[in-house]
C-alpha cells in the first residue's frame, strides 16, 4: 500500500532538547493513531508534516511532496487543532466559506462546500449562529468541518474528543470513522485516550521521548490472550469455589471472572465447574489485550517492541 506520509530519520532539536530523534515511519490509507505521553514528540511530528516547523535533519514527505518545501500540497491537507481556533463573533457558515477560500476554492464553490460540510458534521441548523455561543461539542464539530471543507486527501486530527462528554465523544468518533469510511479521507489521529484510538484506528504509532517505540495494526496489539473471561448470571461465588477446587487461579474484575489457561483443557474444567456450581453462563471468551496495556508495561519492554 502506498505511503501517504513518510518520515525518514526525522530529527528536530530545540537548542539542547531533542523533540524527535531519528524517527522513521510511514502512514498509508486508513486511520492511524499517533500515541504518546506529553513531550513524546507527537505535536512536533504533526507540525513538521504541516510545514509549520522545519526539521533539523531527515525528511518528511506528505502526499509525495516535501512538507517543508511545498506550500501547494497544503491545499490537499486538513488540520483540526486541539486548541480553540474559532472566532467567536463569526457564524460557522461564514467561517467555513472563508476557510475554503483560503484553501484555494473559488467563492461560490466555497459557499456550497461549507454548507455541505456543516450538514455532514450535523451543524446545518446552527450554521448562521455566531460561534461564540456554541457548546464544546458543537465547536469540535465545526473544527472538524473546517479541516474537511476543502476535501483534503489527508487530515490531521489533534485530540478530537478533548473536552467532550461520553455521548459527545461517541458522536465525534463516529464522525471520524465516517470521515474515512464515507468521505475516503485518510486520517492521522493524535490522542492520549487509548480507548478512542482502539475503537477508531486501523494502525498506531507509539512515540516515547522523541523515538518510535511501536508501530503496527491495532488488531495486533489487541490480540487474544491466554486468559478466559467468564460472566455468569447467578451463583458466582459457588463457581469461584468450583474453579479453585480444580486448581485454577481466578481473578475478579467487575462482573467478570478471569481464569488463566495454558491450553484447551481449561475449557473442559470451566464447563465442569459451571455444572457443579449450577451457574448459568452468560458469556465466555478469550480476553483481548487493551491498548492501554502498552503503556502499563515496563519501559524497556516497550523499547524492544516490534518495529521499534
Amino acid at each position: 500500500m502506498e505511503a501517504l506520509l513518510t518520515a525518514e530519520n526525522l530529527t528536530k532539536r530545540y537548542k539542547d532538547v531533542g523533540a524527535l530523534n531519528d524517527v522513521s515511519f510511514a502512514v498509508s490509507d486508513g486511520i492511524t493513531g499517533i500515541l504518546g505521553e506529553n513531550g513524546a514528540g507527537k505535536s512536533t511530528a504533526i507540525k513538521i508534516f504541516l510545514g509549520l516547523i522545519q526539521p533539523t535533519s531527515g525528511s518528511a514527505m506528505i502526499l509525495g511532496e516535501d512538507a517543508s518545501e511545498s506550500i501547494a500540497v497544503r491545499a490537499k491537507v486538513g488540520y483540526m487543532p486541539e486548541h480553540d481556533c474559532l472566532p467567536s463573533t463569526v457564524t460557522a457558515a461564514e467561517f467555513l466559506t472563508h476557510m475554503a477560500e483560503v484553501s484555494g476554492l473559488p467563492p461560490l464553490r466555497a459557499r456550497t462546500r461549507a454548507a455541505d460540510m456543516l450538514r455532514h458534521a450535523g451543524m446545518f441548523e446552527e450554521r448562521y449562529r455566531a460561534m461564540g455561543g456554541y457548546s464544546t461539542g458543537m465547536k469540535q464539530r465545526v473544527k472538524l468541518a473546517q479541516a474537511l471543507v476543502h476535501d483534503p486527501a489527508f487530515v490531521f486530527l489533534d485530540e478530537p474528543t478533548a473536552g467532550l462528554d461520553p455521548a459527545g465523544r461517541e458522536e465525534m468518533l463516529d464522525l471520524v470513522r465516517k470521515t474515512h469510511r464515507d468521505f475516503g479521507i485518510s486520517i492521522l489521529l493524535s490522542s492520549h485516550l487509548m480507548a478512542d484510538v482502539e475503537r477508531t484506528c486501523d494502525r498506531i504509532i507509539v512515540l516515547r521521548e522523541g523515538r518510535v517505540v511501536q508501530t503496527g495494526d491495532v488488531s495486533d496489539f489487541t490480540e487474544e490472550t491466554a486468559t478466559v473471561l467468564l460472566e455468569v448470571d447467578t451463583n458466582r461465588e459457588l463457581l469461584v469455589v468450583a474453579l479453585e477446587k480444580r486448581g485454577i487461579v481466578v481473578t475478579s474484575d467487575g462482573p467478570g471472572l478471569y481464569v488463566e489457561g495454558p491450553d484447551e483443557l481449561i475449557y473442559d474444567q470451566v464447563r465442569d465447574a459451571l455444572v457443579e456450581a449450577e451457574a448459568p453462563l452468560r458469556r465466555m471468551a478469550p480476553r483481548r489485550r487493551a491498548l492501554t496495556e502498552l503503556f502499563e508495561r515496563d519501559g524497556e519492554d516497550l523499547r524492544s517492541g516490534r518495529n521499534a
Partner: protein
Amino acid sequence: MSVGQDTPPHGSGTPESVDAPEGADTHETVETLEGTVFDIGYQKYTGPREGRRRARIAVYKDGVRNALGLGRGARAKVLTWFFITVLGVIALVMALIAGAVQRYVGGQAVEALNLPSHSDYYGIASIVFLVLAAVGAPELLCPDRRDGVLNIYFVRPLTASDYIVARWAAFLSVMSLVAWAPQTILWIGLTMGDPNPVDYFLENWLDVPRFLASGAAIALYTTTLAMMVSAFTTRRAMASVFLVGMFLISTAWTSGVAAAVGGTLGQWISMFNLTNIPVHVNDLIFGQVSTVTVGAPAGELPSWILVGWYLLWTLVPAVILWIRYRRLAL
C-alpha cells in the same frame, strides 16, 4: 420539506391530493407538491483549486470586511463609521463654507480670507484619521491571534508573509479610500461652488494628483504604524488605547518642549510629533505649509530630512511587522 441523512426518496415531487374543506365543491381538489431534499452523501470536490493566489485574495477580502465591520454586529461598525462620517463632514463643511463665500461674497474674498483647502485638509483631519487607524487596525490582527485562527491559516496554502501582506494591503486600501473620499467631496464642492466650474477645474486640476499622493502617504504611514502596534497584543482595546495615547502624548509633549528649547534641538524634538510626520510630507506635496504645521519647528528642516524621517517611520514598522509574523508562524 425534509432534510435527512437517511431520507428515503419516497414521495418526492409526487402530487398529493388534499381533501377539500367541508362545504366546498367536492369535485375540486387542491394539489400540492411536497418537496424533498435528498441526501446524496458526501461529494468529492472536483472543481478548480486556485492555490495561494485565492488564499491571498480571501485574506485581503476578509481584512477589508473586518476593517469596516461588514457582516458583523452594530458594535463592530459604530466607531469606524463614526470616524469615517466625521472625516466626510469636515470636508463637506469646508466645501460649503468655501462655496458660500465664493457665491455670496466673491472670489477675491476667498483668497483674502485664506480659507482652508485641499492642502489643509489632512492637517486638520489628521488626528481623526489617526484615531480611525487606531480603532480599525487591531480588528484585522488581534482577533486572529486571540482566537487561535492563525494556526489554521498557516496550514493552508498561505505563508505568514502572504497573510500579513494581505492584511496590511486590506487596511491600506480602506485607509486610502477613507483619505481620498473626503478630498473628492471637497473637490466636487469647490468646483461646483465656483461660479465658473470649468475655469476652477483648469486652474486647480493639479490638486487632484496632489491630494491622491498626499492621501496615499498618510494612509501608508497610519496603516503601517497601527498594524505594527496591533501585532504585539491580542487585545484590541489595548492596541487602540496605546496608539491614541502615543499620538496625543507625542503631539502635546513635543509642541511645548520644542518651542521652549528652540534651535536645531527644538526642530528635532518637533520631529517626534507623530501626528505631524505625514503632514510635513503633505506640505511638501502641495508646496505650502498647512494650518496645522505652520508653527512646527520641524517644518524648517530640509525637505529630504522630512521625507527621510517619514520613510523611516513607515519602513521600520513595516519590517518589524513582517518579522513579527514570520516568527509567529514558527
